[in-house]
Each structure stands twice: as structure tokens, then as C-alpha cells.
Amino acid sequence: MRRAALLVAAAAALATALLAIVVQPAAARERTYYVAADDVMWNPIPSGRNLEGPRPIDPLPPSSLGWKFHLLVYREYTDATFKTRAPRPADQSYLGITGPLMRAEVGDTITVVFKNNTRFPVNMRPNGLKSTGGLALVAPGSRKTYRWSVPESSGPGPADGSSILWTYQADGKDLADSGLYGPIVVTRRGMAQPDGSPNDVDREFVVWFHEIDETLSPTWAESLADPATNPHHLKASSYPPPVLFNNNIYVNLNGFAYGNMPMLFMHRGERVRWYVFTSSSAFDFHAPSWEGQTVLYRGTRLDVIPLNVNQPAAVDMIPDDPGVWQIYCSVNIHLDFGMEARFTVLQ
């Protein structure tokens, strides 16, 4: 009798120890990203066509430069030499102009080695994370290392799911209309896989709802001066504001318009988390909308999410209706100017 009790006690102790090991959170990780601000030439409709629907692309007004323009973006590199760009996985090609997807579990630290490859002073500042390294602008050609810590107060709140979205952005003058934004996914402590992604979600997508007014971008003079982006040699002086102001606006999803964002794929029945965000150009009010499926947002069932300026949101979908569907902005002038993309639900 006594032996049996002893055995039970020993087994219980062992089980407790085992459990402690199993549920002990993984040691806090330091996640390092090499990110440069680069000046790129961008085209929101690389196919030259409206891949979304039967209607043709709206003709650009006469004082529009065209579909190509210069843009500042964040891009990831393999190491501190900043010689080789970190290849974006094929299933992330849809991220377009959006900066590298960073991840952290609560307790982790993100280290960003930053290089400014542009001709303008810019920086990197996270929303929601604790940053060291200051907000000073980094001179063209210079570098800076930032450490962003991820305490409990940067992670999901009681009514959030297992992960939430933050963004990082540049603080320099007139950068709201640049492409200098990127996503950070923070996962609840104990809920992350080794790469930082939440372990109760099968698939994640990040979509930036964005309006670029190229005339307000720091690269505007460059876009005007470059025959590759200004093939008709428009002169700013011959089209004073507000004509130019109104006619070089590009609404986009991750930089793409008129269905040109690479197709997103998911399977029926998967737990899909969509992270959507806006930035802060003049009219960055958007209404991300999904066809064919519904989402849960803060516990309520919707298929249109109203977003304010510079607002991130995470919504959950379990797709159940196979087919090709639209994701788009429900603001009518945005939809008319091609703020739409497609996703496919496979059986």
C-alpha cells in the first residue's frame, strides 16, 4: 500500500516536472533584420491590364506622369554588407512595396540594422514596440542599429487573438506618401512557433491599404526629371497645383492596383488571419472588404472593416466557399481607381 502511494507520488512529481518543461516559454529570442531604405521605380499595374474585371483601366489624366514613378521603400538584405537582398519567398511576392514582414513573440527583441540608401534623410520607427536608438533621421548613406523590445504591453490584449499587427514607418518630412512602411506581427507569449508566427493559425496575409500622392512624395522631383517615369516630359510649372496634386494619386494594395497583386491562395477550412493596415496620407480612410467569406473582427461578424488613418487590424477567416474572390476597398473612388485584388479559396 505504502509502496503504491510512493509510486504514485513519484509519477506525479515526474509528470509535473515534464509539464513544467513543456509549458515553459521558449527563451526570449533576439530577431535581427537588415533593412535598407531604397529608391525604386514602381509600377502598380505591371501587367498593364485590369486583371480584375471586364472594364478597362481608367485613362490617366493629362497631367499624370504615367503609371511608373519613383518611390522609397524598405527592403531586406542578408547581412550588414547590404550587398545581397534577402530573397522574398514566392508566397510573399504579393507584399509588393510593403517592407519586410517582421515577427516577435512577447519577450523577444527585434534588432534592426538599418542603412539609408536614399538621397533623403529617413529613419525607422515602430508603432507599439519600445524603441531604443532615438528618432533622429539617418543621413543618406549612413547606418543605424535599432533595438525594439516587445514587452507584454506590445502583445495581444485580453480581447485580441493570439497575434496582433503593428507597423514601422519613417518619420522624415513628407514621407506619408512614400512607401516607407512595413508590418510587425507580435504573437502572445507561449503561442509562437519558432519563426514567431502564431501556432493556432494556418495561414497569414498582410495587406496595406494605401494612397500615394506622388506630388507629395520626396521622390516627386526625381520622377519628374527621369524620362523613364515622365515619358511625356511634363513640366511642373505648366501644371501648377492643384491640377498635379489631383492627378498623380495612386490607390493601391501593397503597391498594386486593378487586380495586379499576385493571387493569394488558401484552402477551405484553414484558420486564416488577415492583417490589414493603413498609413497616413491625406485620404487614407479605407474599408477593407472581402467577397465570398466573412471575418471575425473583435468578436463581431463582418465582411467590411472600416479603418481610420494609420490603423492596423487583425481579423480571422475560415474560408468555406471555394473560388476566386475579391479583396478591395469599399470607398467608391478607391474601388473605381483599382483598389482591388483577388484571392483563391482551394477545395
Binding site: 473583435r298 463581431t300 470607398v331 467608391n332
Partner: protein, 361 residues
């Protein structure tokens, strides 16, 4: 031993009885006959500002008037589409909204649609589950003619839409016993919405519905659509221009400030308090479904004077609405009187986005 047998039998009996009790009602198929009809719509039928009792604001420089030709969804009694289903007087405030479609989770909605306008139109629901042949939206989705047919029903033609209502079309964990969706024409989505055909769908949680589909823990439901209609973007604007009854001033496409003059803010298609009164009773549990359309200035701040509402568990009397927003808030009116219900954005309020409701003791 015998007692064990007896008690297990009893337990089995009780279990069977319980299963019978909690078994959800049979899934229903709810059938509607809806036509899109071309009609003249008057945003201010009294010809006055009923909020302050004075005259309407002067017409804009190129405003046709307060009436326009619009395409609206209307409910008929059967497949002959000969007899309009009459709307009871206490639902007159619904105005240009199409019929309220209802379902309990598990049901199926079947809409027999007839397009009696000169425009190709469709019916596209938010939130519900549909095959491509019932989506009502034409775009490059890899389907051939079937999907396209549902997305653009030709003038004079008919089409049957089948929409299923699974769990994911019903209330989420933080919602009340019912949620609201919209249906609207999606042949050319943005222009169609300015043209007019739009209506509400209520989905009630499984086990929470009365036979008619309405939530049984709610005494009264109110539907309001906050909309800025840019009539120049309507696919019937040319018809409005050509109709001397709605265009007595002979405005033309070349008239100045055409867009600004013909942008009208409204609630259910009524401006300046012209919406028929919403009548509520003190102490009732009232659910307000608040909707918005999709123009670039369809950001609204519905404000209830005299009462408060619960919105997502928070007490307020002003909520935020964005384009195509669909919200449900709950009110327990306790303050008898006639109260203002309006959009708090100053330019919208001044332009007539105002209505009234009455709470009787």
C-alpha cells in the same frame, strides 16, 4: 441492481426528452419575390424642412430638384410580379430600402429577382454563403457564363439567387442575437449604389429566432441607411435629366457645379426630417441596424438624442460609421418624447442628414 436499471432508464428518458427540447427548428427556406423597379424618388416629399419647420434650403446652382429617377428593390407577392407586397404604415420610414430579408442560421434564402429597369442590374449579398452562380458580381473569377449571368441580369430578365446561411453568416461571440448585412446591385458596384437598389438582411442566431426569423429577445427592430447619393454618378442620371417632371429647370450635363449640386445626404432616402416617424415604446428592447453606403464621404456619426445605446458592449449615443458599414446597437428607450436622430458631421447635418423618432410612454 434493479434500481440501477431503473435509474439508467430514467436518465435515458430524460436525455431523449432534452434532445427533443433543444433540437433546433427545422432549417427553413425563405423565399422572396423582388423586382428592381425604376421610379421617381423624392428626398423631401413634404417640400419642407420638418426638423425646424421652415423652408428647405435653396436648390444648388445646378440641382434638378429634390426628386430623381432611381432603381429600387421592391417586394412582390408572387412570381407573377403583379402585386406589390404592401408595407405596413409603421414601416413607411424604410423609404428607399429594399425589403428586409431574414434568416436564422441554418436557413436558406431564395430570391426570385426580376429586373424591370432599363439597366442591367444584380443582387449581391454580404455575409451569406453562395455559389458563383448566386454571387451577383461579375469579375474575373475564372467562371464562365453562369457567374456572369448572376452579375448582370438584363433589362426585363429574371434570375433566381440561392443564398445559404451557415454559422459564419450569423452573430459572432461578441454580437447580439442577430447581425445585419446588406444586399445591393453589383453589376457596376459604385455606380449601382448611387443608382439606388439596396436593402438589409438580418441573420439571427440558431435557436434565437421567431418563426418569421426575427430575434425573439428583441421587441422592435429599426433599419437606417446613411447615404450620400451623388446623383450624377447614378446610372439613371441621364434619365433624370431627360424627365421634365424631375428636371423642370432644364439642367444639362454642361451646367456648372453639377456633382456638388446633385449630391444629397439622406437617411433611408429622406432628407431634412422627411423620414416618416419611427415609433418606439418605453421599456422595449429595440435593436437599431445602422448601415452606410460607399461614397468617399460616407463617414457618418449617427447621434441619438434623448436615449443611449449599447454598441459592442459600450454605452454611447454616437457611433462611428465607415463606408459599407453594417452595425447593430441596442436601445431600451426610457425617455418619452420626439427625438432627433442625425449625423453629427456638421456638413452632413446642415445638408439635411436628419430624422426623428418618437418614444411613447
Amino acid at each position: 441492481m434493479k434500481s440501477v436499471l431503473v435509474s439508467s432508464l430514467c436518465i435515458a428518458c430524460v436525455a431523449v426528452f432534452l434532445v427533443t427540447l433543444v433540437r433546433p427548428a427545422e432549417a427553413a427556406v425563405r423565399t422572396y419575390y423582388i423586382a428592381a423597379d425604376e421610379m421617381v424618388w423624392n428626398y423631401a416629399p413634404s417640400g419642407r424642412d420638418l426638423i425646424d419647420g421652415g423652408a428647405l434650403q435653396p436648390l444648388g446652382p445646378s440641382q434638378l430638384g429634390w426628386s430623381y429617377r432611381k432603381a429600387l428593390y421592391r417586394e412582390y407577392t408572387d412570381a407573377t410580379f403583379k402585386h406589390l407586397k404592401s408595407r405596413p404604415p409603421d414601416e413607411a420610414y424604410l423609404g428607399l430600402l429594399g425589403p428586409v430579408l431574414r434568416a436564422e442560421v441554418g436557413d436558406t434564402i431564395v430570391v426570385h429577382f426580376e429586373n424591370d429597369t432599363p439597366l442591367a442590374l444584380s443582387m449581391h449579398p454580404h455575409g451569406l454563403l453562395y455559389a458563383k452562380s448566386s454571387e451577383g458580381a461579375p469579375y474575373r473569377d475564372g467562371t464562365s457564363t453562369n457567374g456572369k449571368l448572376s452579375g448582370a441580369v438584363a433589362p426585363g430578365a429574371a434570375y433566381t439567387y440561392v443564398w445559404k446561411v451557415p454559422e459564419r453568416a450569423g452573430p459572432g461571440p461578441m454580437d447580439g442575437s442577430s447581425v445585419v448585412w446588406m444586399y445591393h446591385s453589383h453589376t457596376n458596384e459604385t455606380e449601382d449604389v448611387d443608382t439606388g437598389p439596396i436593402g438589409p438582411i438580418v441573420v439571427t442566431a440558431k435557436g434565437m429566432a421567431r418563426p418569421d426569423g426575427s430575434p425573439k429577445d428583441v421587441d422592435a427592430e429599426v433599419f437606417t441607411l446613411f447615404a450620400e447619393y451623388v446623383e450624377t454618378q447614378s446610372r439613371l442620371f441621364n434619365a433624370s435629366l431627360a424627365d421634365p417632371k424631375v428636371n423642370p429647370r432644364h439642367i444639362t450635363m454642361k451646367s456648372p457645379a453639377l456633382d456638388e449640386s446633385n449630391s444629397i445626404v439622406s437617411i433611408n432616402g429622406y432628407s431634412f426630417g422627411n423620414m416618416p416617424m419611427i415609433d418606439l415604446k418605453r421599456g422595449e428592447h429595440v435593436r437599431w441596424y445602422v448601415l452606410a453606403t460607399m461614397s468617399e464621404f460616407d463617414f457618418h456619426a449617427p447621434d441619438w438624442h434623448g436615449e443611449t445605446v449599447m454598441s459592442d458592449g459600450n454605452r454611447t449615443n454616437v457611433i462611428q460609421l465607415g463606408p459599407m458599414d453594417m452595425k447593430a446597437v441596442d436601445m431600451w428607450p426610457d425617455n418619452p418624447g420626439t427625438w432627433l436622430f442625425n449625423c453629427d458631421i456638421n456638413v452632413h447635418r446642415m445638408a439635411g442628414m436628419t430624422a426623428r423618432y418618437t418614444v411613447t410612454p
